[in-house]
C-alpha cells in the first residue's frame, strides 16, 4: 500500500500542523511516513505546499512525482488547483472553500468552485464555517484533517489520538474543539462520498 498526499495552502494557514497530525496518525497505524515541508521565505503569505507519503513499505523519494498523488488536500481553493498536475487520474481533491485574497489578481470564486466541481473527484468543504460550529475558527485545519480522513488509509481513532497528543499541552478545551472539528469534517466529507 502506498498513499501520496500533496498538501497546499497559503503561508500562515497551518498547513504544517495539518501535515503533523496525519503523519502522527499514520505512524500510530504502523505506516512508514515521509513528510517534506517548506520553511523560510515562502511562509510569508506565499503559496506553500508539502508532500506527505504514507506506505507499508520503504519510501525512497521525499517528493511525489507528477500524476502520482492520491490526494490533494488544500486549505485554500485556488491553491488546490496549483498542483493538479500531481494528481492521479483517479485521485481526489479535497479543499476548503475559503479564499485567501492577498493578491490583486484573485479570480472570481464561483469560477474556481466550478472548475473544482468539474474534476473527476473533488470535495469542497466549508471549513471555516464548520470550524465555527466546532467552537473556534482556529480549528479550520482540523476540519480539513477530518474531511481528508474519509479517504485516507489511516484509522480515525489514530488521527484522534494524534490530535489528543499534539493539542494536550493547550488544555482540554482546545483538544475538545479540535476533536469536534475533526468529527464535523469527517461527517461532511463521508456523507458527500
Amino acid at each position: 500500500m502506498k498513499y501520496d498526499v500533496i498538501l497546499a495552502g497559503v503561508g500562515g494557514q497551518g498547513v504544517l500542523s495539518l501535515a503533523a497530525i496525519i503523519t502522527l496518525g499514520a505512524m500510530k497505524d504502523g505506516l512508514t511516513v515521509r513528510q517534506s515541508e517548506v520553511h523560510g521565505m515562502a511562509q510569508r503569505g506565499g503559496a506553500v505546499q508539502a508532500h506527505l507519503r504514507l506506505s507499508d513499505q520503504t519510501i525512497v523519494s521525499d517528493l511525489i512525482g507528477k500524476a502520482s498523488a492520491d490526494m490533494i488536500l488544500s486549505m485554500e481553493p485556488i491553491e488546490s488547483l496549483r498542483y493538479l498536475a500531481y494528481l492521479k487520474a483517479d485521485g481526489v481533491l479535497v479543499t476548503s472553500t475559503d479564499p485567501v485574497k492577498n493578491i490583486p489578481t484573485y479570480p472570481e470564486v464561483e469560477g474556481i468552485y466550478a472548475t473544482i466541481r468539474g474534476l473527476p473527484s473533488a470535495q469542497l468543504i466549508e471549513a471555516a464555517a464548520l470550524a465555527q460550529q466546532a467552537g473556534s475558527a482556529r480549528s479550520t485545519n482540523m476540519v480539513m484533517v477530518g474531511a481528508a480522513s474519509a479517504h485516507l488509509p489511516v484509522q480515525e481513532k489514530s488521527l484522534l489520538a494524534a490530535i489528543d497528543e499534539l493539542f494536550s499541552r493547550k488544555g482540554e478545551k482546545v483538544v475538545e474543539i479540535n476533536r469536534k472539528a475533526f468529527q464535523i469534517g469527517w461527517e461532511t466529507a463521508a456523507l458527500a462520498v
Binding site: V10, G11, G12, T23, L24, M27, T32, V33, R34, Q35, S36, E37, V38, H39, G40, M41, A42, Q43, R44, G45, G46, A47, I59, V60, S61, D62, L63, I64, G65, K66, A67, S68, A69, I78, E79, L81, R82, L84, A85, Y86, L87, K88, A89, N102, I103, P104, T105, Y106, P107, G111, I112, T115, L119, P120, R169, K170
Partner: protein
C-alpha cells in the same frame, strides 16, 4: 534502538548530541536553521552542551575551532551562502591539527527556495581538501554525523556534512544509537599545528596533501559508496549522489533493465569505483543534487572514453532541483502528466510582508521621502524586508549578500551619486553591516542608513538577535556617527508623514546619517509562545 520522527536538520542535531558534542554554534539561514533550533529545544533534556546563535557564520566557525583546540567536540551549522562568510576560517582550519572532532553541517538550497544562489558546498569541501559526507535519508543524516565526528578525530581535519533542502526539511523515522560522553578537556599538544605562519603553514599544507591518499582510501572503501554491476547490460550506467539516489530508485522499477549503478555519499570522489563502472558501460548518466560536481570531474577537458551525461549535456536540467519527474525523463521513461484545469488562469502567489509588519510602514515613509528627489539609489539587504522589492512597495533596488547594502551605498555615494539610502535589518546589520558602516564613517561618505529594527531574525523563524535593540543606538554612536544624525523612529501608520520628513532631512544631510526604525516583528510573540510550548 530508540526511534523518533525527525527532520533531516533535527537528525543532524541528534547525531551531534549522541557524538558527544560540548558546543554547537550557528547563524540562522534556511534550510539549516532547524539544526540549532532543535539543539536549543532539547538541550535541557540531553545535557550539558553549549548551543548558541552567533553574530555570523565566521564567528560561529571560529568558536567551534576553539572548542576543538582544547580537545572537545563542536558542531557548526549554516546555510550554503553562510559558508562564503565562514570560508576564511573554514579553508584555513583544514591545515590545523584538529583535535576535538569538528563537524561543519552546511545546507544547500538548490532551487533557491529561500536563497540568493544555489551554490554547491561540495566544491568548498574539495577546495579545502577535506572529506565530505552527503546523506540521502534522515537516518543516514544521523549516522553520518556520528561518522563525521569520528573521521575528524581520526584524520585531524574538519569534516563537512552536506545537506540539501529536501533532506533538511523532510521528516522520517530515525533510529538513534547510544550517546557517548563528551571528551574531557585536553588541550592539543601539537605546538606548530594551530598557528599559520608561512613557515608552519607550508608544513601543514604539505601534510594535508600527503593525507589525501588516506582520505581517498577511506572513500573507496566506505560502505556508503556502493557499486552494483550488471554484467549483461552495457548501454549505460548510472552514478547517483545525495537525493539523486532517491529519485532514481523511485523510478527504477519501471525501467526495463537495472543498469550498473554507483552511488556516492562519501567524497573525495572514489575514482577507482568510477573507473570500474566506466569499464562496463558506453555511457554514464550522473544524477546529483546541486551543481554538476561529479559530472564535471568525469568530463575533464579532454574527451573521455565514455560518454558522460547529466546537467552539462541537458539530460537533466542544469538549474533547480532534481525531482522524480526530471530523473524519470533522464532515464528515458515516458513523462507522466496529471490532470489539467481548463479555462482558469492560476495567478502566482509570491510571499509578502505580513499584514501589520513594521517594514510596511518603514517602506511607506521611505517611499514618501524619496519621492521628493528626482533620482535616488536605495540599496537593501537580506531578510523579510527584501520583499519590499515587490509591489506594492517597490522601495528597494539591490540585494547582494549579507551586509552589502551598506558597502554598496558607500560606493555609490563616493562615485558621486546623491541621494543614497541603505536599508538593512537589525540581524543583518549585526551580521555584516557594522564593518562597512565603519568604512563609511571613516571616509565621510554621503549616505543614509535606515536600520529596520524588528528585534528579531524574522525570516528564518524568529531567532533572538545577538544584541538587544536598546544597544544598537549606542553601537552606531560608538562607531562615530554624528549623534545629531542618529534618529529613532517608530514605524507606525500614524507616524508615516513625520517619519518620511525625518528620512528626507537626513538624506539631505551631507555625511553619514543613521535612522533606526524600531518596532517588533508582529510574529515575535507567536514564535516565543511556540518555543515556550516546545513546539
Amino acid at each position: 534502538m530508540p526511534e523518533a520522527v525527525l527532520l533531516g536538520d533535527e537528525a543532524l542535531a541528534m547525531g551531534a548530541i549522541d557524538s558527544g558534542i560540548s558546543a554547537a554554534y550557528a547563524y540562522p539561514g534556511t534550510p539549516s536553521s532547524e539544526i540549532m533550533e532543535y539543539l536549543q529545544a532539547v538541550a535541557p533534556k540531553y545535557g550539558d552542551f553549549v548551543a548558541e546563535w552567533c553574530s555570523n557564520e565566521k564567528t560561529a566557525y571560529e568558536a567551534a575551532v576553539g572548542v576543538s583546540l582544547v580537545g572537545r567536540r563542536a558542531l557548526v551549522s549554516m546555510k550554503h551562502v553562510g559558508l562564503n562568510v565562514a570560508a576564511d576560517p573554514f579553508i584555513n582550519s583544514a591545515l590545523l591539527a584538529i583535535h576535538g572532532g569538528l563537524v561543519l553541517a552546511v545546507a544547500d538550497d538548490p532551487g533557491m527556495h529561500s536563497s540568493q544562489n544555489e551554490q554547491d558546498s561540495r566544491f568548498y569541501a574539495d577546495f579545502a581538501r577535506i572529506i565530505c559526507l552527503e546523506p540521502r535519508t534522515q537516518g543516514e543524516v544521523y549516522e553520518m554525523t556520528r561518522e563525521a565526528f569520528d573521521l575528524s578525530e581520526r584524520f585531524h581535519i574538519p569534516v563537512m556534512v552536506r545537506l540539501t533542502t529536501r533532506i533538511a526539511h523532510s521528516r522520517a523515522v530515525v533510529q538513534t544509537g547510544e550517546r557517548r560522553p563528551q571528551n574531557p578537556l585536553n588541550k592539543s599538544t601539537e605546538k606548530a599545528g594551530w598557528l599559520l605562519l608561512p613557515s608552519t603553514a607550508r608544513k601543514l599544507w604539505a601534510e594535508l596533501l600527503e593525507n589525501q591518499g588516506q582520505f581517498l582510501a577511506y572513500a573507496e572503501n566506505s560502505p556508503y559508496n556502493t557499486l552494483e554491476l550488471n554484467e549483461e547490460f552495457f548501454e549505460f550506467g548510472v552514478i547517483t549522489a545525495g537525493l539523486g539516489w532517491n529519485y532514481y530508485m523511485e523510478n527504477r522499477d519501471e525501467m526495463a533493465v537495472k543498469p550498473s549503478h554507483l552511488h556516492i555519499s562519501v567524497y573525495p570522489i572514489p575514482g577507482e569505483k568510477v573507473r570500474r563502472l566506466a569499464e562496463r558501460v558506453k555511457r554514464i548518466v550522473v544524477i546529483e543534487e546541486g551543481f554538476s560536481f561529479i559530472e564535471r570531474a568525469l568530463l575533464g577537458i579532454l574527451v573521455p572514453a565514455v560518454k558522460i551525461s547529466g546537467k552539462e549535456d541537458g539530460t537533466l536540467p542544469s538549474t533547480g532541483e532534481l525531482t522524480p519527474d526530471n530523473v524519470r525523463e533522464a532515464m528515458g521513461l515516458k513523462p507522466k502528466q496529471g490532470i489539467e484545469a481548463t479555462g482558469l488562469e492560476i495567478p502566482g502567489r509570491p510571499p509578502q510582508l505580513c499584514a501589520g509588519c513594521p517594514h510596511r510602514d518603514s517602506y511607506d515613509a521611505l517611499n514618501q521621502a524619496v519621492a521628493g528627489f528626482d533620482q535616488k539609489v536605495v540599496t537593501a539587504d537580506i531578510g523579510c524586508y527584501t520583499l519590499g522589492y515587490l509591489p506594492p512597495y517597490q522601495a528597494i533596488e539591490t540585494c547582494l549578500c549579507m551586509g552589502a547594502s551598506v558597502g554598496m551605498a558607500k560606493g555609490a555615494s563616493q562615485a558621486g551619486f546623491h541621494p543614497v539610502v541603505a536599508t538593512i535589518g537589525d540581524g543583518t546589520f549585526l551580521h555584516s553591516g557594522i564593518t562597512p558602516l565603519v568604512d563609511a564613517v571613516a571616509s565621510g561618505s554621503n549616505m543614509t542608513l535606515l536600520i529596520l529594527d524588528n528585534s528579531i531574525t524574522a525570516m528564518t523563524g524568529g531567532q533572538q538577535t545577538i544584541l538587544t535593540s536598546s544597544r544598537l543606538e549606542k553601537l552606531v554612536h560608538g562607531i562615530g556617527v554624528d549623534p545629531d544624525h542618529i534618529k529613532l523612529i517608530i514605524p507606525l501608520k500614524k507616524h508615516t508623514a513625520e517619519n518620511a520628513e525625518i528620512i528626507r532631512r537626513e538624506m539631505e544631510y551631507e555625511g553619514v546619517s543613521v535612522i533606526i526604525a524600531l518596532r517588533d516583528c508582529i510574529q515575535t510573540p507567536k514564535e516565543k509562545k511556540k518555543k515556550e510550548a516546545g513546539e
